[in-house]
Symmetry: C2
Subunit: 396 residues, 2 copies
């Protein structure tokens, strides 16, 4: 059986701390690394040595901070091209792939339409897409060992199984194993919103924050939360379900069975259904509803106002309960942010409690390749032992 | 100036892990300790040695697990009487104190009415209460060095300052410093709900859980959350504010300025106001409202139903976002749980998303001395370096 799991690159805590800091923040001197990690200078030098020898780190030319400021220092930096990672986003109708370097910089992208949507067919298509990506540069093929797949649904990252995906209609699929078998790479699978959050936390707006949240809006309303630097997973695998907070006891029924969920008011489908109902025109498309709202149509404008309000109340709940340092709002729904934004911000401001209102919301439009980059970020994390799955009996 | 901070008892990670496990779970063999902490047997033995020498741990008589099962093992246990801790709860009208042993067992309690409620007057009263408590047994005075104070409001545990307490009407009070000066003990101050949660997490229903939540109902609706074994504090000091989630856009206005907060529907005052409004009787007392509801009065019953529903929706939001392993419901409001419980459970079940519904709610009626015990639990935590405040310029 295929061993789909990654071997961590670093195992000693000191190496882990040094590499993680350089990955997230760019070049730093050994003195700065020692200060930031709490390690001694000797320990930093010792930890960096094998990573320099392996080509993951290198020394920048010496720089003198000020004339006569003592002996020159050589900052350490990550060599981004030392290793490449395939990031993958499996959406309902397309497969997005990216080659990323060690610092999650996108180096090549590719996309394929999904035809037959069985796990086996997708695994074959992934192999083709990976081949296409690795063929774009010889170095990619030589230095790519890991693939990270971002996928809608309930994922057990440790075992690499997709427990359930409503969007794909899959249930209990050993996805890491399938993709590892078809591509020959070690594979990590993660829920797509969590993968995006990892990318934003390590390489984007969340750098350096201990508490961080990303909320996605669009076809679904989701979020993922980072607490003390780690993704919140929930004791039962459920966490960050901002889309299923009840914000209105008289609100519409949600597909989940509950009434008044944020998602039942604010998803693309919910907005569309509301305007179709109010106008009596059951054939309206979402694009038309957006256009109508921009042109000042009251029913369409009202639906976006209610949606923005529900999202803002949901984000306020998240901020009041968990206390992130900042919240990034993303997802395909931000295309209509001109219609939603003011309502989101107003509801958030009205319901954020006390000092929690200091937590800024920032908007991050993410094209689809950024989701694939999320997959790559998860694969990069797998270089670190605390993020690497422990092989299980069924998959080792 | 007084140095109110504790010195941690253990500093090495191995000692910390061994002592924490024995405190929470009771006697364990060295083999079991090694397995549970991930340390080698040698490391466990080495870590336990100074704690045995200092009298914090002792060896139980050897026990043989089964005939012929190898050499006998001496389980290690915490000596609960090695050190005592004063726990304190400062409520609006009374001061509750307790002497607790190392495993947070209550050994003596005392209570005083609060007269003048200035910080200085309370500090003097605390000194009298502590004297009374320490006089109950000579060993208490000999072996008590730490006091933990649980207090309503926004507390900065690290600096020992109470930033703001609505209940006490205090703002920016250096409470740890004041209490340390008046009692001569090292002092840790914590928000009362968080202190109660620490006690429940280390020594109660939460033992062994990585994700845990405690919700208090009554005059206010609050909660505190434990994630990966640590209290959630929030980047801006705000977290666990389940009382200020908006659950009804048409709900009553809350004192915080927002509309439809759980607390505006479900606090004791909110229930009372609702029944006074519906009956037109502005002189009703809460006890009467409880009695009326128990006797089937529709307005009173309806107010409790709405309150229970709001609390259940709030707990579901907490569970959907954070994913605790279990939720404990407590606070003086549980006295009316016969009127609230069914509505809380029904709303929670209706709004918990997917597998999150497996998270059990359990009820824990807590008399006031348990809140004081929460303070003692915080003082016990201060034996560990990760929970000990770093002295600041103003307080060291």
């Amino acid at each position: 059986m295929f061993r789909h799991h990654s071997q961590p690159l670093v195992t000693a805590p000191a190496e882990t701390a040094v590499l993680a800091l350089l990955l997230a923040e760019g070049p730093l001197s050994r003195v700065e690394l020692a200060r930031r990690t709490g390690l001694s200078s000797t320990a930093v030098t010792k930890a960096a040595r094998p990573l320099i020898d392996d080509g993951y780190l290198y020394e920048l030319p010496p720089e003198r901070t000020a004339p006569g400021a003592g002996r020159p220092v050589n900052p350490l930096a990550v060599a981004p091209d030392r290793e490449y990672f395939i990031g993958l986003k499996i959406s309902a109708d397309r497969l997005f792939g990216a080659v990323c370097d060690l610092r999650a910089g996108i180096r090549a992208t590719a996309v394929r339409p999904l035809g037959e949507c069985t796990p086996e067919a997708v695994a074959r298509l992934v192999a083709e897409l990976v081949d296409e990506l690795l063929d774009t540069e010889p170095a990619f093929r030589d230095r790519t060992r890991h693939l990270g797949a971002a996928v809608n649904g309930d994922v057990d990252r440790e075992s690499g199984r997709l427990r359930h995906s409503g969007l794909l209609g899959w249930r209990d699929v050993p996805l890491a194993e399938l993709l590892s078998a078809s591509t020959g790479l070690s594979v990590t699978v993660e829920n797509d919103v969590r993968a995006l959050t990892v990318a934003e936390h390590w390489f984007g707006e969340g750098i350096g924050t201990g508490y961080f949240a990303l909320v996605t809006i669009g076809a679904g309303i989701g979020s993922a939360l980072v607490v003390n630097g780690r993704l919140l997973r929930g004791a039962y695998g459920v966490a960050g379900e901002v889309g299923h907070l009840c914000v209105d006891p008289n609100g519409p029924l949600c597909w989940c069975g509950a009434r008044g969920c944020v998602e039942a008011i604010a998803s693309t489908d919910a907005i569309l259904a509301s305007v179709r109902h109010d106008t009596g025109d059951g054939n309206l498309a979402f694009d038309e509803v957006v256009r109508m709202a921009r042109e000042g149509h009251p029913a369409a404008g009202g639906a976006f106002a209610r949606a923005g309000n529900a999202i803002g109340v949901g984000i306020a709940a998240l901020v009041n309960l968990v206390g992130p340092e900042r919240v990034v709002v993303s997802g395909e729904g931000v295309d209509a942010y001109d219609l939603l934004g003011r309502h989101i911000q107003e509801a958030y401001a009205a319901h954020a409690f006390g000092a929690a209102s200091r937590c800024p919301l920032s908007l991050r439009p993410l094209p689809w390749e950024e989701w694939a980059r999320g997959g790559a970020a998860v694969a990069i994390q797998a270089l670190f032992p605390q993020y690497t799955a422990t092989p299980t009996a069924g998959s080792g």
